[in-house]
Symmetry: C2
Subunit: 123 residues, 2 copies
Amino acid sequence: MTHRQPLPADLFDELCPSALVPFRFGDKWAALIIRCLEDGPRRFSELRVPLHRVTPKVLTQSLRGLERSGLVLRTVHDGPKPKVEYALTPLGRSMLEPLEAACVWAAEHWDELLDAQERHTAS
Amino acid sequence: MTHRQPLPADLFDELCPSALVPFRFGDKWAALIIRCLEDGPRRFSELRVPLHRVTPKVLTQSLRGLERSGLVLRTVHDGPKPKVEYALTPLGRSMLEPLEAACVWAAEHWDELLDAQERHTAS
DNA sequence: GAGGGCGGTTACCTCCTGGATACCGAGACC
DNA sequence: GGTCTCGGTATCCAGGAGGTAACCGCCCTC
């Protein structure tokens, strides 16, 4: 091994972006929700279908979190029938690219990941 | 809005890779650790420097988790002095690409993210 | 034989996420 | 009046992630 750079003294210095690296960005369901919104705005009850394992409370929590981060916009349409729509903001939409890259990686290495898990639980 | 695809009925059907999408992959420090290893193997005490806000217990936990996932290899070099090295496996190294994409995204939109946070805490 | 660096481990505790379950008000529909 | 859908809340609770602090054996050097 040739002479390498020593590691930086403090990865947390200042507001180092790497501390907010989107791996581990958002809560447990954030990525799935964002992918549900990529085709356009969706209603709450529309999101509940593919995410039926997520209770409404948790779904609301996640959506509020994404709203707080500026990734999702919540719009209440006044009218006779209640109608609430969630849509990606431009910022949220810009996230689709790295998110897609991460999904592709996961899909490609799915088998290896499972193998590693099994090999460890076996031993 | 033109006619869109309805959302899939169940995002959790089978072993859908999107459920393991690397956003939210690993624990709190996984991404930072992986980036510390991209230049080659590092020793435990070497990692402790940039990650000095992570206690040894948690660092060990994270490293064990990454080892379990097959992303990191732990090697004990027998010899007069104790020497343990952590290195990325090929699988771990392949993860650098999407991780880098995520970091670039975060760096580019850092200001927007902070703005959104502040705007929300203010209101 | 005292001390120090290495690579951790152990015990304990706290907080927060996420889950289960039940319930709610407004409007439309019957 | 009763009931349905929509878009959530309220309440309670368990598990686990993560933090604190102390300790450990081994080997080396002084």
